[in-house]
Amino acid sequence: MADLRVDIAGLHLKNPVLTASGTFGYGLEFQDFVNLEDIGGIIVKGTTLAPRQGNAYPRMAETASGMLNCVGLQNKGVDYFCSHIYPQIKDIQTNILVNVSGNSPEDYVECAARINELEHIPAIELNISCPNVKHGGMAFGTTTQGAASVVRAVRQAYHKTLIVKLSPNVTSISDIALAVQDAGADAVSLINTLMGMAIDAEKRRRILSIGTGGLSGPAIKPVALRMVYEVAHAVQIPVIGLGGISSAKDAVEFLLAGASAIEIGTANFLDPAITVKVAQGINEYLDRCGFQSVKDIVGIVE
């Protein structure tokens, strides 16, 4: 048994597998399938200061080896999270992280400040990369100044581990990563979904209600892997890799590219027990190849 523990800027994970926000609910939706405590960490749904209804249906289109979504951050708001959901998940013996989104820097700050008060939430993932909302979201994540300003503001209000989730819909993701590092991020996670579109040829119209959506699943893996490699070589802070991971082999590739931990998203829809299988598979890989610890393979690919 290899040592699967990793440390992301003070956040201790029992293994490098986290769940990607928006694909694993609050974890409770999956407890019939996996022992949640066997997962390194659970990143819950995107949470905003005020409740949001999200975008209209249809919000999903299947694509080759992937899917588009335009959910648009439907959630009941941070106060509901604190009063109704947090009590149900706080005693799960793993790391529960909240993915924080907003329309303005003030929203992000206020939302982060409220989550800062929750004893059993050791970290937040700041989502400056949602492609499915009109204001905010990705708008902050696509310029170095926008990204830095939100991160700097949240850093003042949030005192635990601050992970910033990056958008791939940019010219140079390394520049954005450097900007958020300088603004005080403890770690970065990437990638969020790639902007895409689906058209119904028979009905001659765009399928998704807002016309565009974010692409996820195996289709985006090579793009994500390249970006993780680039960012890991550019920044000093830890990198969390995601995008299309569906197997332990995929996860190992991200670790080799420079990710200290990985997230699993869309693959949960196909196999709700995939997270623990990937953690086990990483262990098998390390044993088979003679590595003592997962840390020994992070970023070793030239």
């Binding site: 999200g54 249906y57 899917m67």
Partner: protein, 259 residues
Amino acid sequence: MKKHILDLILTRVACLHERYVLLQATDPAAPLPEMMPGQFAQIRVDGNKDTFLRRPISIHNVDRRSNEVWFLVQIVGEGTRALSRLQAGDKFNVILPLGNGFTLPASSDEKVLLVGGGVGVAPLLYMGARMRELGVEPTFLLGARSQSDLLQQKAFRALGRVFFTTEDGTAGERGFVTQHSLLQNERFSRICVCGPKPMMIAVARYAKSVSTPCEVSLENMMACGLGACLCCVEDTVEGNVCVCTEGPVFNINQLKWQI
């Protein structure tokens, strides 16, 4: 209800019609879990990049003696075509049971009408079977385009009274289900409907006009089927709710349909 991921083995695949197949499957390892009528399974379709996601398919019947669950599948695209090509002995992966299900009668005084159109008849067979177990005889009103599209007639007849409509008049009364004389001649304590949306809306309108409680089963596009992705939402009086967890069965009063 606890959800299970199971590898089922097909015991029988019957082609009912060029566009419909009946899949009967068993779990060789254990008794199948408890399932309610109206609930569904998420079936994995392997081996094609274009059928990436699982496919939601209703529980058509559960046979406890043979430990079988049945699915009635209409071939509309690649995923359902792949399912139709499976053969007895093949293994396939399902997650079940998902969703809420129809309301079962609370007493034997209830007179429940089950209305189905096309492949929407699927969950009604199991509903009828469970009603019989509770000592209530179901009444079925089943509609289709033509005689050959009326599925599982024998199985429905074995459970209760069955009325048909076909659009071309080749079986039962000619027209749509809402035009059937049964609706003029009898009243019911509840109506459960599954079928194409325009049909469900028409039945809901009828039910409302005669003040009969009515439940409909929605078929919104799903990704996870587990309440995690929020892709399958329906706009209801309580805002956007997930059809996969709060439904697929809804009382028509919860919906914002123009009826």
